[in-house]
Structures are given as C-alpha cells and as structure tokens.
Assembly symmetry: C2
Homo-oligomer: 313 residues x 2
Amino acid sequence: MTFRPEFALIERIRKAAGGSSRVLLGIGDDAAGLGSREDRETLVATDMLLDGVHFVVEECGPYWAGRKALAVNLSDLAAMGGRCIASFVSIAIPRNWNAHEADELMRGVLELAAKWDCPVAGGDTNSWDGRLVINVAVVGETIEATSIRRAGAQVGDVIVVSGALGGSIYGRHLKFEPRLDVAAELLKLAKLNSMIDLSDGLSSDLWHILRASHAGAVLEQKRIPVHEDVRHHADVVNLSSPPALAHALHDGEDFELLFTLSPAQWETLRQNWKLPIALTKIGTIVSEEACRIVSETGESKELVPGGYVHRFG
Amino acid sequence: MTFRPEFALIERIRKAAGGSSRVLLGIGDDAAGLGSREDRETLVATDMLLDGVHFVVEECGPYWAGRKALAVNLSDLAAMGGRCIASFVSIAIPRNWNAHEADELMRGVLELAAKWDCPVAGGDTNSWDGRLVINVAVVGETIEATSIRRAGAQVGDVIVVSGALGGSIYGRHLKFEPRLDVAAELLKLAKLNSMIDLSDGLSSDLWHILRASHAGAVLEQKRIPVHEDVRHHADVVNLSSPPALAHALHDGEDFELLFTLSPAQWETLRQNWKLPIALTKIGTIVSEEACRIVSETGESKELVPGGYVHRFG
C-alpha cells in the first residue's frame, strides 16, 4: 500500500487523516493496524465510484465526488447495524488535475470521515490518463454482537423505511447523510430482523431482503413516503400522482434504511422514536414469495425489482 | 456494497469465492462480517491497479492483471508479519469486454486467494467506457501480537533481503509469489525489528525504513543479490557489472521482503533457515541518517532513493 507523492498530496492527507484509539497504525506503512473486539463482527464494505457513472465530476466538483465515495460505504455500515473504525481511500486522478482539485476531493472524504469518526487509515494514490476513479473501503464493527442482515425477515414483520424516497438525482445522491445515527438509535430501541440501505431503489432493495429471507411482501401504496425532490421530475404533476409513486419506488440512491421487525417491536420503536428522520411503516412481510403493492381502492399489483409494476392477477 | 449483475459475473464469483471460519458473512449483503482476535492487530492493505500504469492488459491478459491486484496486497500483509483473513475486489470493466475476459480476471484473483486462504468476501463490479481498474483491499491479522513495522530498525541491525532483485519488468512484476510463507517462517525463527516489501525498489524502500526509524545504513555492494532477469536489460553486459547493480538497487516491483534484526537473531535465523528462498545480508543499520553503499575496493557512495547514486564525500 503506497500513497505516492502526487502533488505532495499524501503528506497533506496524513496530517488531516485524524486518528482514534482503534487505529493502532495509520497511513505510512505497508498496511494499517487496527484494534478489534472479539465480541463484535468486523464489518467491511467497499465501493468503486467512477466519473461519468456515479457522478460527473465536471458538474459536481471533486468535493462531492469524494464525499459520496465515503458516504455510500458508511450507508452500507449503517445497514448492517454497524459503526465505523477506519476508512481506506484509493484514487486514480486525471493527469491534468491540479493540487487544488485533489485537495478538494480529499476534503470531501475527510470532513465526512471526521463527522462519523472514521479516520482515513490508508489508501493508494495514482494519476493516469483516464477519468477519476475513487475506491473506498470502510472497516467497522457491529454495534451489537451480530450484524443485521438481509436474510432475517420473518413472516408478519412490519416493513419500515427511514426518510422519504425518490428524486435523489437532483442532488441528494451526492449530498445525503449516511444513516449511522438512525441505525444506532434503532438498535437501541428495538430488535430488528433484517435491514438494507436503499441504493438500487425500494423495489429492488426490498427484493434483496425478500429473496435472502425466502419471503414476500405486501406494500400499502398510500404509505410510501415520496420525497419532495420528486416534484423536479418532468413527468410528475403532483406528489400523490402515480408517476411520483413510481419515482419513490424505483429511483436509486436514496440511501435511506429499509428494515423489518415484529409488530410489537415496531410499536415500541414508534412510541420512543425521537430523531428528526421519519420512520414510516410501508407494509408487511408475508410467506408467499412475491411483492405486491395495494392501492387505496384495494387494487393489487405485483411490484417487480428494477422499476416495473405489472397488474397482479 | 453491490456486486451488480454484469455478465452474471457476480453469481459466478460468489460460487467460486471460497470461505473460512473467519468469514462469518461473505458476498451478498451490504458488508462482509469477519471474526477478529483481540490479541492480534487487524491489518488492512489496499492498492488500486490501472490498465496502462501497473500492467497493460492487452499484453498480459486479464488473468495476470487480476492476480497481480491481489498479489501486491498479499505482499503488503507479508511485510507487516501478517496472514490473510479475506479480500475485497472492486473492478471497473471496459464496456467492450466479454464474459470470458471478466472470468479470466477473477480466475487470476481467485486462484491466488485460494492458495493463500484469503477468500473473496465482497467487492463491487461496474462496467464503463474507461480502461480496466482493479482495487483490492485485504484484511488480515498479525501472526504475533503486533505488526512488524518500518519504524523499528535499531542501530547495529543486520539488513536482510529475500530472493534476488531487479528486472521484474520482464515478467516477475506480474507473476511473483507474495512472501507470506517467508514472513511466517521468519517470525517463527527470529525477532525482526523492521520490515517492508520491495515495491518501489531497494533504494527507495530501504529509505522508507531509515526515515521511519530515524537511522541510516551502510550496504555492501558485492552482497546485493542481482536477479538473473536483469540480464534481459539492454544496458547490462553481465550480472556483476555496475548497470546490473543499478537495476537491482532501483528497479521496482521485486516484491521481496527487506527486514532488519540484531546480529544475534540473524545468526540464529541463518542457521535454521530451510525455505528455498535465499536470505542475504546486504548491510548494517547505522546512526548517521544517510544511506551509503561500499564497493569491493572500499569506495563509498551515497545511495539516494529513486535511482541515483552520487559520490559521497
């Protein structure tokens, strides 16, 4: 592992990287050394973000590209019921970038890392003729003894989502806050059976839980929380229209938490929830391995991952 | 963390990924879950390899590109006195690749991962219009209670290198074997004070140890083990010529281990060393913070990182 001397960037990263009692050895050796707890699962998430695929750096600027690369991984940690230990940042910088652009990118990473106590403990820097690439790996650990996985939903569970969904393309896909605080508070208040973060869109990510849990779901159309950003879509007349619902169901990169728990646990959670991020019950886990969505008039459609709603029976 | 369905590649990776008692949760959730030991340092290394920078995939093929991306990280683990727990592989695949090319890349990763018991427990796949990018992060742990770091060399230490150096560009930079077995055997036989793997070249990597340890070194020119691959260089007449020495000192990507230990420990190690990879004493750690190399005729030059040898005094 080598932070090469592009723009003297490495020394600046090292100085700004922060530290913690869990980072025994940070940037500057062949690998980082971390302290671990045997009574916790060590969690590792990694995502590679590409200019032109996950962001357009000419439009959003290096700061938001860097921030997003860390944020998507922190969202993954949150979805496991985890907290941060350290982050590892590999970047391929376009050869024509100047030092300021590289610094801005790292500022986006480092500010979010500081906020969530996830010091940058290592990485790799290169410059090349291609477009910007950022890979972040985060190491964390479960808040409780074990992780909250996709494969734990039980028949009868309530399905709950944090925040509101859809329209992230208008800015939230870059500027969202990873729900680490929500996850920590959830685990304090209730026993969750399954959880995932919404990266591909509700219809797809719910499907990941259902497939892993060998279960199905019935969603209540009127309960799906539509984000007001959806109103920016040209096809949306108002937020209770069917196109608005489709965006809430299928747009990706909400980075909210989707989880299931027993009705009794949900009741406890609901009554004690104090954080400003709304929790909304949107449906129920059922045994039949399909996902239906029921309208206010009682019409039932099948909800297929990837964005298509077909009439169901 | 999402393995997206490019080429149905993910399912094939998942099936071939292997497992171990330390991988509690592998590919297929938001993050991997690993078991950790509190009496060991958790080690994390990461490297991003770029087509056209670290390999030319049209020349070497996807298999060797994939293998190298894991191997450089395993070499980092070895240099810390570590062993593997799991690896995490993020790839950006050129959009015109077919399924066979992607499979070949992963075969290069997975075969080496199986050999060193480092199951692939997660990652990320994307396709894009750019050239191939592979980021590997490996998580491991120290064999003993603590890591062998760069910053531990003591005045009077013997400086030792494994294998022979130079000319890796003729193939070894792709096909080298990470020295995990050498590191494990070294730790069994002796107490090491500092260690690094040779990625930037002996003159640069020794400098990393010296700077971190606030010490200097005197190397004996005649002891530097020159790899026979150096003979392929146009400027090399024979392997005892000064150009051959320069390649051994400055060529990068040998991925051998460079370490220091007390003369008494070296004597024990030397007498009990049974592995087929040679260990060579090449010099001594001194207090004056400079690096000198002494010829057979007693001439002393300063050895500067990055490939320049100037007359010293």
